[in-house]
Amino acid sequence: MDLSAINPIVLFASLMVASTPILLAALGELVVEKTGVLNLGVEGMMITGAICGFAVAIETGSPALGFLGGALGGAVLSLIFAFLTQVLLSNQVATGLALTLFGLGLSALIGQGYIGQRPPSSGDLVLGLDLMVFLGIGLVALIWWALRATRLGLILRAVGENHDAAHALGYKVVRIRIAAIAFGGACAGLGGAYLSLIRVPQWTEGMTAGAGWIALALVVFASWKPWRVLLGAYLFGGITVLQLNLQAAGVKIPVEYLSMSRYLITILVLVLISVDRTRATLNAPAMLGRKFHASS
């Protein structure tokens, strides 16, 4: 065992890097769910963002444009979901799952010509970290503030808590939800682009490997609170990185315990959160997953 080989600052930096994709995706999904829409297509939007971002970065040579392209790709894909569920009133769970499958296939198709290429280096590092890490944290603060203290946040929450009442007050429920879904798609796309441009720097089919599902779980884990999403993302990402680092340092703890630690901590945190049952249920948007039509 050689714990001295682990530099805590470097470790924390790689923890932040590992957490950023799920953080971004989970933040987007949080806003979507706050408006009462359950989009299970996060994985599909992430991987679409990963390839769109990668392709744009390769074509333009600019990582910044790449991230923009990733966000756009995720948002455009999410608009399919928005159209199906908000206009045609399809089932949100089924549509979300279909969106994931569609996104995985679409990304593999777009990605055909980009396998084996290297993205342009993102260069600018602050404290050894790229700007996206800080953007992720900034986004947490922004969403927290917006949901809590702004008129926009109030409207979003109203739509998610009681769409009939929001409609009666004259808010365009469907339009607001579509906008939220597109925002969620953009965030997921951004998270995906972070994977393909910075964390792994390459494009591989299926490279998100379930990150979208972890992001979905994070939202519930965080009981729809932005700062808890940040905590949860660091916990999930952090434990993986810590686990790998401890193994590399040769710590004599059986790998099985290290691997299961994040599930154990998840259970522990969920138990702690749900101790106060009424508070936990209060946080869940009341209209989550329900259909809305102005006639009803």
Binding site: I115, G116, R118, T204, G206, T208, A209, A249
Partner: protein, 356 residues
Amino acid sequence: MKIKTMLTTAAAALGLATAAMAEDPTKVGFIYVGPVGDYGWSYEHNEGRLAIEEEFGDAVETTFVESVPEGADAERVLTQMALSGHDLIFTTSFGFMDATMNVASKFPNVRFEHATGYKRADNVSTYSARFYEGRAVIGHIAGHMTETNKVGYIASYPIPEVIRGINAAYLHAKKVNPDVEFNVVWVYTWFDPAKEADAATALIEQGADVIMQHTDSTAPMTIAEEKGIVAFGQASDMGNFGPNAQLTAIIDNWAPYYIDRVRAVKDGTWESADTWDGIAPGMVELAPISDRVPADVKAEAEAMAAAIAAGEYHPFTGPINRQDGTPWLAEGEVADDGTLAGMDFYIEGLTGEIPN
């Protein structure tokens, strides 16, 4: 004729098709654990599938299902394949073993070929490559190339195939560099680029300057390139992902074997068998060794590969002790295939424990 009758009975028994089916081309199915585009393990199996199509043309029809999780899902996919009239099905990951056996027992007329496993039946063959021969060669190179004396090893699951690879690489690295240390990280996945990248980063941050992987994606190679260190490709030539980083790669070439087995089915000579081929018949190949490797080391590595191919040298030749110091192979003794196939111990000098 025999196949025709067998097929027809099978089809009739399932109430699926008519005798017309027997006229159809031989149907060969594949299931892959990762995507075809992993540019590693599954990619090479798919290359083998394409080689079958090229060889037999219209006389065969091949299908594949990619990214099949190991476990219950594999059984579902295999059942579907067996029901849809496949004559021969290749299941290309260790974790498909039980699913293959279960489905095979239900479809005695469908032939199965399971890669890297050890369970066989009348209609289930197993095949694998002696990757450890390639690992011995890259271990030799790694021992010479490391300056920090730390080699990072990204391992997937603690199964004999992976443990054998670690042992073979370590043994030969240690021979040329007694101070070398192997840091093994178990990631418990075959394909998760992000996790493999994180593992590579963790190893490099802790001083490893040579990365070996026994996972399927090219992510570790990309990270090695990014950080300016060296690495070895796994299953495929990963030179595209690490033009400076890749020293060489162990390439799995399944095509000749796949073509043989399909031909056996067509001829009616297919029998359950256990195939384990190495460098000699070309099932294991090495990518061209990079110029970063000094010429003498390169020559030694090539000589070692040639000696293994010629049967003059066995990578596991004694004296070798187990990790706890008890003797395993005496001076000049060569490991038998049985022990190798079930290898569940580290050799002396490796630190850390094998997870259960």
